[in-house]
Symmetry: C2
Subunit: 218 residues, 2 copies
Amino acid sequence: MLCVFDVNETLLDLAALDEFFADVTGDPAARREWFDLMIHNALVITATGGYRPFGQIAAACLPTVAVTRGRTATPEQQRELGQRLRRLPAHPEAAGAVTRLRDAGFAVVALTNSVLDVAEDQLRNAGLSPLFDAVYSADQVGRLKPAPEPYRFVVEARQASPSDAVLIAAHDWDVAGATAAGLSAAFVAREGRVPLSSTDAPAVVGVDLDDITASLIG
Amino acid sequence: MLCVFDVNETLLDLAALDEFFADVTGDPAARREWFDLMIHNALVITATGGYRPFGQIAAACLPTVAVTRGRTATPEQQRELGQRLRRLPAHPEAAGAVTRLRDAGFAVVALTNSVLDVAEDQLRNAGLSPLFDAVYSADQVGRLKPAPEPYRFVVEARQASPSDAVLIAAHDWDVAGATAAGLSAAFVAREGRVPLSSTDAPAVVGVDLDDITASLIG
């Protein structure tokens, strides 16, 4: 089986940005609001048939969450956010979980909405690069997840069939996109998040990557 | 010019559902969370290339907001929500604003993600039907807004050109979808909402429909 890992929030811990968001907006909770707003923007752009590099969306959403708190985010702070996104730490169980999947004989790749250069930096800085057979970006097909193109691209690049691949992600939209593209999906319910209300439940749901890995290896 | 009005929240007041949400979830603020979750679901389904009737999405999201408050939403309550959506009151300024646009010589139609039968009921019950030249539903093309198909469908049905049409909506995603499809757009900033962070600002922004109408008539 081909295991396709999402990167941000699934493998890497965005809570490392809380301090930065506290500095910029006065409110560490603004980090989650910023992430949700970024996803909302990405979904709208994708649903309208468009594309925009994920980092541009990330930067554009910073001033919005600052303004609602009476603050202003500067262009320097937007650039700083981009740099910090490259240096997120891995979730504590990530390396062990990916290693167990490899040891069980699964192929393991990453697929992210971040552009390839950022994604490679992220996995390298988090110490996860040696564990992955390859890293892919939605930018390579000019469509963001959850559009079907990025999932199909990875499956074809690995010469796998969709039904022999599982996407592992901490985001309802990612899981729904993979399922719509014919893959199976495992949902990591981080921070109390739940699967999408209006579509079929993912094949696997777990509280963290250890939980997911145990289900996949069986 | 062809004025294309969104219906829910733009013309009709969803605050009328607060009492229902208080009964079902114990929290009137759950209404806005339910609406945002419904839009999130609709965006994900649309971005993955799928379609689902809007009312099914609305019903599916009710149990989710109930569960997070330790409550259970019953199938009867899901049906009751559907009935209440047909009987929303118009925002106080809606009829006057639409009438002024008609009097200024504009063609005025409605375009909603609700299925046609629901949309026609909604406008009739709110007393707005006589003001509209026609009502269209995204369901007629099997794609939800903000996908380009519903906007193009309306413009073609009215034998207009996209550049001679303006979408008027209280939702960032709707405004972004219309703009991507070549229409211009007017954003009604209800409940403190703001335009999308990562795309160009809409041509017109106003605090309510009176404000928008004044800008359009000039």
